[in-house]
């Protein structure tokens, strides 16, 4: 079934120069396996296409059940040059939590 990431995961984002970066965290190992499978660089590039981003980087971290995501060239040149309300990219994580993925029914922490 289709599940919004906000129902199964938590996330925080920040900025470094022109990069936005996101930590996406599963509450449990079963959900982590689903995130690892479904949240791919390709899916991320599509999801954030509206921001006009550059290359997407992605690292899975099994030890903390997390995906580290970096969106290059995502902040209009950086927080001090950006025209956006969210110049610091603090809400990029909220945008990510809106992504819908294919997930099995009955994940342990499904909201």
């Amino acid at each position: 079934m289709k599940v919004g990431l906000w129902r199964i995961a938590h996330a925080r984002s920040g900025d470094k120069a022109d990069r936005a970066d996101i930590g996406l965290f599963a509450y449990d190992a079963e959900t982590y396996a689903v995130l690892k499978r479904e949240v791919t660089r390709e899916r991320l590039a599509t999801h954030f296409a509206g921001m006009g981003i550059g290359a997407v980087e992605l690292w899975p971290l099994d030890n903390i059940l997390a995906l580290k995501i970096v969106l290059n060239a995502a902040l209009q040149g950086g927080a001090a040059r950006s025209l956006r309300m969210d110049n610091l990219g603090k809400n990029v994580a909220a945008q990510l939590l809106r992504m819908e993925i294919e997930a099995p029914a009955g994940l342990p922490r499904l909201r």
Partner: protein
Amino acid sequence: MKTVRIGAGLGFYGDSWQPVKASIERGGVQYIASDHLSELTLAILQKDRQKDPSAGYARDGVPMLAELWPLAAKHGVKLILNAGGLNPQGAREAIAKVFRAKGWRARIATVTGDSVLERIDELRTAGEPMAHMDSGADIAGVRERMLFANAYLGAQPIAEALAKGADIVLTGRVADAALTLGPLAHEFGWRWDDWDRLAAGLTLGHLLECSGQGSGGNFGSAGEWARIPDYAHLGYPIAEVSTDGRAVLSKAPGTGGRVSFDTVRQQLLYEVHDPHAYFSPDVVLDMGTLKFDDEGGDRVRVCGASGAPRPPTLKVVAGYHDGWMGTGMIGFAWPEAYAKCAKSAEVIQTLVRERGWKVEDSNIEYIGYDSLLGANADPAYRDQLNECFLRMTIRTQDKAVAEAFGRLFPWLGLSGPPYVGTMKAIQPAKELLGIWPTLVARERVESKVSIELERAG
């Protein structure tokens, strides 16, 4: 076994130091590591310094120490602050003045030598290209517009200042985590090539450097954020560290917030690029081997950091002038709140075009609809909004255009669509800065680093 307790101070210029009191009074900390400098803060401090050469430091360090020092002195707590900004000696003088007036005594150390703005040409002549770290672009294109350029120093000068007997250490730009790693290396006598221990210290510094974000603040989630207890009295994180680098993260008893596996790992990955190679001036950390054990009761054990040798270069972040931002806003109530914002945007665009203003870039956002979620806002709500604000911004090289842009908006109140909201339209032009991250051979910077210790009061 010996342990050292370090508490988080501020996480940015303007953050609150009230939670630091609980860490000192009830958290048993020996050190406070206070981070006043985000990537952009030096730009603000540079403007201060242009107006007044004795300024250029983070001003909040002065009232913070004025309020905390009596407590800190009573409990034997030392404070490490990067509030020196572009002028650590200026910060020291401002603080010493307060201490003299109050009759307090303290040994205050300053760490200087991180600024390379005046040395850019010298460094380039010496063979440092200072090209943009990400794009590889030549610095020559922005050289004349540089406003600040500072290297991130490591923990060694901080440890040295403490070894000299400092009660308060004031630095300029240092790696945020060095504010914590410095006292740990000093207390435990860690060798500067003991990579795993340095990596452990770096991990803990990173977990403390954003104050409340390490203990339940800004917990990015749907629903879970509402279960974080007592935001009003949120305690800042505290690390209790053993000589082998193992640590327990906690916060002062009786404070709000939460220290758990979830809150701690959110901070771990915050503003990190490659988690297997997290660079600092002192060590390169691999986060992939870290282990967290949530003991409950706001206690999380951290161990397993692995470190690789420090890089031969230091990161320098410079900022350069890159035009001006003009901003205008206007709000409307139902009915058709969004449509009226969109119509207003169209009108403003026509006016800008007719005036022939040179605009490099522009942004249209609808506050209440998409100003934070961008293209991921759900359009299902767009036409049913109770109210909506239009926010338009432009980037231009012409400051007068940036100033004039906001002044286009109030006119809409009587001559545009109906049911207009507040008219906070006129905002001053804001200077925009480009950020220039680059690398410089570390010895060229470190040879100029100086540590001075003076007695205040």
